[in-house]
């Protein structure tokens, strides 16, 4: 891997030091295993927005503990692996920060008690995933994949938020613990179909279910530690986690079972088929990840023999499979990353005989692949037997069994593709060019591979400590549940034997048959990836057309549009609400006020009739000044004073602007017809405003606030000027907001004006042309990745 930046020895040291965080968390979660597996639920709470009943509260039960252990345990290995894998690459501290930020968000997601908090953490994982996929931001494919992942999961997450709000309002609580403790299934609620659909939209996009799976294989442009961690072991499982969490609340209905089993089965079979057609090692693994996610979704949806009740052995099978998959998949991803690090390529066809060069990596890969293929005595075998038996026992027996067997056969083939082709056979060029790797790059996959073996041998403690408590959070676990390596010769064992044989047979025939499904899949008329492009192009084209239509760039048109809209909308409201109250009698007006009215009228006429812009501006200033005098006569000296100064300043600043304009002509050359149209709009706005004021003053005045401020001015705010007391004391927060806007406006003026005008205009037109030509169509085709 080429060194893109200046490597410093300090940076990997920093990275290695940052392992302390996930390692410490992992140790802490491990220490909780005995308490949680005995049925205890741990709980913490910090008030956040107490007025809305939103608290930052966390709880740990079997389900969240299983996920937390996977997140921190694999996180420790990944951070350690990345410290070597990413050595010499630029912006390593930032990368590590993103990785750790992701880990904490993911932990928050699985531990959160409040639905809104869960949503926030959910979005944070999406955001950190965006940053990590787009780590190589010079690469257009990486940018596209990052944005695609963010948008697809983000849209799903917004739907999920809507579902959460409906759920919370229907159930009367946003706390997951209360939802689960109340054993109130929402299946009978009137909004149930909406809640289910919206929550499933979030889960399915996050966990890459067909047909929205496409972002996950594209996300493989990320550095391999990211793929191993986020896009196989943890983040993509968030959807599965959510389904497991929601299962007692939303599950058990026909809609739940049919949707989950349907989507899950199609996803599992489709992606298992797609995985064996790929030639990029990471793509093979990515599709097998999608297969695993589909499998989990399917088994979370499987109903038991007794209709209605959630199926408990399938929940155990799903949880066991999550553990199995996390162990072997992270190991395989790290091994593939090591192959690429050492040889510079991930193309299967260019590898061969690597076992002579990358010995320990080969051992790790082989152990993980055997677990993936489900051979005894690995944990993968236990997992697969459980999948088979619970599918067989479920109400959807035949269909579920067919789907899981078909997917498993292809997964055996995929496991052999990854573990056999690169390492065996004659040494190819890549093996001869390979440079040896340090221990940091193989220790992770070797450890996880061995763990798969250990967990397979020590099945009982693993299930008692981790899997059964997790499954118990989903559905009641049958008593005396004893998973084991050996169940005697039965039909399921025969099915396993057939699975291995068929998978190996496909592998043997791979030069002849594997190109067929690939060609078929590529010819599918619709693909999610292409639909995504079409949607994005459509949005860009629509907004271009809309912008061209709406943004003429001519100031007077904007002002006309704003004022006409104001007059029309407010006028229509006045008429519709029957709110026009003309005063029954004309109030008495003093001589002084009549004089001001005369001055204002004369100035307005001057503004309209003047052919000199400067004169018009000054006349407008006179109007404002006269109005401020009315304020003064009516006993509002503060308002009058401010208005007076503002009018003065406006005239001065507009005069400065006018004199600085490059082609300023003092003479107004506007056709009379346009002036009449503008006058009509102006009269309409003025009339509507007057009518609104009349309607407001017709109401009896509400004096509570006035009385409060007047009585509290001296004792509360130590001042006799109530207006000023309100500004700087009672309502100082509002003033603070206003002066913040003022500072921002000043900064914006600097930003806009401190450029050479000509240059800005040219650049604007160039950008406009570029956007009109359509969005960046850089496409990260999977084959090129």
């Amino acid at each position: 891997m080429p060194a893109l930046g200046v490597p410093t020895e300090r940076v990997p040291a920093l990275l290695r030091a940052s392992i302390a965080l996930p390692a410490a968390l992992f140790a802490w979660f491990c220490s909780l295993v005995p308490r949680v597996s005995s049925g205890e639920t741990l709980h913490w709470e910090i008030g956040w927005i107490p007025q809305q009943g939103i608290a930052l509260s966390f709880f740990i039960d079997g389900l969240s503990l299983l996920f937390a252990l996977v997140i921190t345990g694999i996180g420790t290995l990944i951070v350690h692996y990345a410290s070597e894998y990413m050595r010499g690459l630029p912006q390593l501290p930032r990368f590590t920060a993103f990785l750790l930020a992701f880990m904490l968000s993911m932990l928050g997601l699985v531990l959160a008690d409040n639905l809104i908090a869960l949503f926030i953490f959910w979005e944070l994982t999406g955001l950190t995933s965006f940053l990590l996929i787009g780590y190589k931001h010079e690469d257009p494919a990486a940018r596209r994949a990052a944005l695609q992942a963010l948008l697809v999961t983000g849209v799903g997450a917004l739907a999920m938020l809507a579902g959460f709000v409906l759920l919370g309002e229907t159930a009367g609580t946003y706390s997951l613990r209360e939802l689960l403790a109340g054993d109130a299934s929402l299946a009978e609620a009137s909004h149930y179909p909406w809640i289910l659909g919206l929550v499933l939209a979030g889960a399915f996009t996050k966990s890459a279910q067909f047909p929205l799976h496409f972002w996950l294989p594209n996300a493989m442009v990320a550095p391999t530690p990211v793929s191993a961690y986020l896009h196989s072991a943890t983040m993509v499982k968030a959807g599965v986690f959510l389904l497991a969490r929601m299962s007692p609340v939303l599950g058990g209905t026909e809609a739940w079972s049919v949707t989950l089993v349907g989507f899950g089965a199609v996803t599992a079979v489709y992606s298992a088929l797609a995985s064996v057609t790929r030639t990029d090692l990471k793509q093979v693994l990515a599709y097998t990840t999608v297969m695993a996610l589909g499998t989990c979704v399917m088994f979370l949806g499987l109903p038991g023999e007794a209709a209605g009740a959630a199926h408990s052995t399938s929940a155990v099978a799903a949880m066991a499979f999550i553990l199995v998959h996390a162990l072997y998949k992270a190991a395989l991803f790290m091994a593939v990353g090591t192959i690429e690090h050492s040889t510079g390529t991930r193309d299967i066809a260019r590898h061969g005989g690597l076992r002579h060069v990358l010995g320990p990596t080969f051992v790790g890969t082989a152990l993980a692949a055997v677990s993936m293929a489900g051979l005894p005595p690995f944990i993968g075998f236990v997992g697969k037997e459980l999948l088979y038996s619970s599918a067989y026992e479920s109400a959807f027996g035949g269909f579920a069994l067919f789907a899981i067997v078909a997917a498993s056969v292809l997964i055996v083939t995929a496991a052999m593709l990854v573990a056999v082709v690169p390492f065996f056979g004659t040494m190819k060029q890549s093996a001869r060019d390979a440079h040896p790797v340090t221990w940091q790059l193989w220790i992770g996959s070797l450890l996880l591979g061995l763990l798969g073996l250990v967990a397979g041998v020590a099945t009982t403690p693993v299930f008692q400590g981790l899997v059964l408590p997790a499954a118990a959070a989903i559905a009641p676990v049958p008593e005396h549940f004893e998973p084991g390596l050996w169940h005697g010769f039965n039909s399921l064992l025969l099915l396993s034997l057939a699975t291995w044989a068929t998978g190996a047979f496909f592998f043997w025939l791979r030069p002849y048959i594997l190109s067929v499904p690939g060609a078929l899949l590529d010819r599918l008329p619709v693909s999610g990836d292409r639909a995504y492009d079409a949607t994005m192009d459509g949005i860009a084209r629509f907004s271009t057309a809309l912008t061209r239509h709406m943004q003429s760039g001519i100031q007077s048109r904007y002002i006309r549009a704003v004022f006409a809209t104001l007059a029309l909308s407010v006028g229509a409201t006045l008429v519709a609400k029957d709110a026009i109250h003309l005063p029954s009698q004309i109030p008495s007006v003093t001589f002084g006020e009549w004089t001001l009215v005369a001055v204002i009228s004369a100035s307005v006429l001057t503004v309209i009739l003047s052919r000199s812009r400067l004169l018009a501006i000054c006349a407008l200033g006179v109007v404002g000044t006269a109005v401020s005098l009315i304020f003064l006569l009516r006993g509002a000296p503060d308002v009058a004073m401010t208005q007076l100064i503002v009018e003065t300043l406006v005239v001065v600043i507009v005069a400065i602007v006018l004199l600085k304009l490059p082609d300023f002509r003092n003479e107004i050359r506007q056709p009379l017809s346009e002036r009449w149209r503008d006058a009509a709009i102006a009269v309409a706005v003025g009339s509507v405003t007057s009518l609104v004021l009349l309607a407001v003053t017709a109401q009896p005045p509400q004096l509570e606030l006035t009385e409060y401020f007047e009585s509290m001015a001296v004792p509360g705010a130590h001042g006799h000027n109530v207006v000023n007391d309100i500004l700087v004391d009672f309502r100082a927060m509002d003033t603070l907001g206003e002066i913040s806007v003022l500072v921002l406006a000043a900064a914006a003026v600097c930003a806009l004006l401190r450029r050479r005008t000509r240059y800005r205009v040219d650049r604007f037109h160039r950008l406009q042309r570029r956007y009109a030509a359509g969005p960046d169509r850089a496409r990260a085709s999977e084959e090129d990745a």
């Binding site: 300043l649 400065i656 000027n721 700087v728 927060m733 004006l753 401190r754």
Partner: protein, 143 residues
């Protein structure tokens, strides 16, 4: 625009208006006035000056960058609001008062002075930047 009469008048008025603006600011709590109006009055003084003098001369006279002045005013307003929470554990922007002889001094006055600075800084930025845009920061130019 730059006539002899305007120039000579400005010379006298400039100081007078500034003094008046500070007076307006200080009396604001008990009589018509306050930071906002005071700031606006001071701005008219500077605007008058910008009319008759070269913007460079104005910048030299003011010394402080107007935008930074506005930002400092905002910071002052926020800080004045923090005194209550820090000293008395009261909510943000609570007024805190001390009596020195017959004069009462309080954090709202600091807040008002912040408003004054923001208004002067912002208006001065508008007027100066429009009359002659300042030099773009080096990092900003992509020629």
């Amino acid at each position: 625009m730059n006539t002899l009469i305007l120039r000579e008048t400005t010379r006298v008025l400039f100081t007078l208006i500034l003094v008046f603006s500070v007076a307006t600011l200080l009396r604001g709590h008990d009589a018509p006035g306050g930071g906002f109006v005071g700031g606006l009055i001071a701005s008219t003084a500077f605007s008058l000056y910008i009319f008759v003098a070269d913007p460079k001369d104005v910048r030299r006279l003011v010394r402080a960058d107007p935008l930074k002045t506005a930002a400092a005013g905002l910071a002052l307003a926020i800080l004045s609001g923090l005194i209550g929470p820090i000293l008395g554990g009261r909510p943000f922007l609570s007024g805190e008062w001390v009596e020195i002889g017959a004069v009462e001094l309080g954090t709202p006055l600091l807040f008002d002075f912040g408003v004054y600075l923001v208004v002067v800084g912002a208006v001065l930025t508008f007027a100066l930047e429009i009359k002659e845009p300042g030099a773009a920061p080096a990092a900003d130019s992509e020629e």
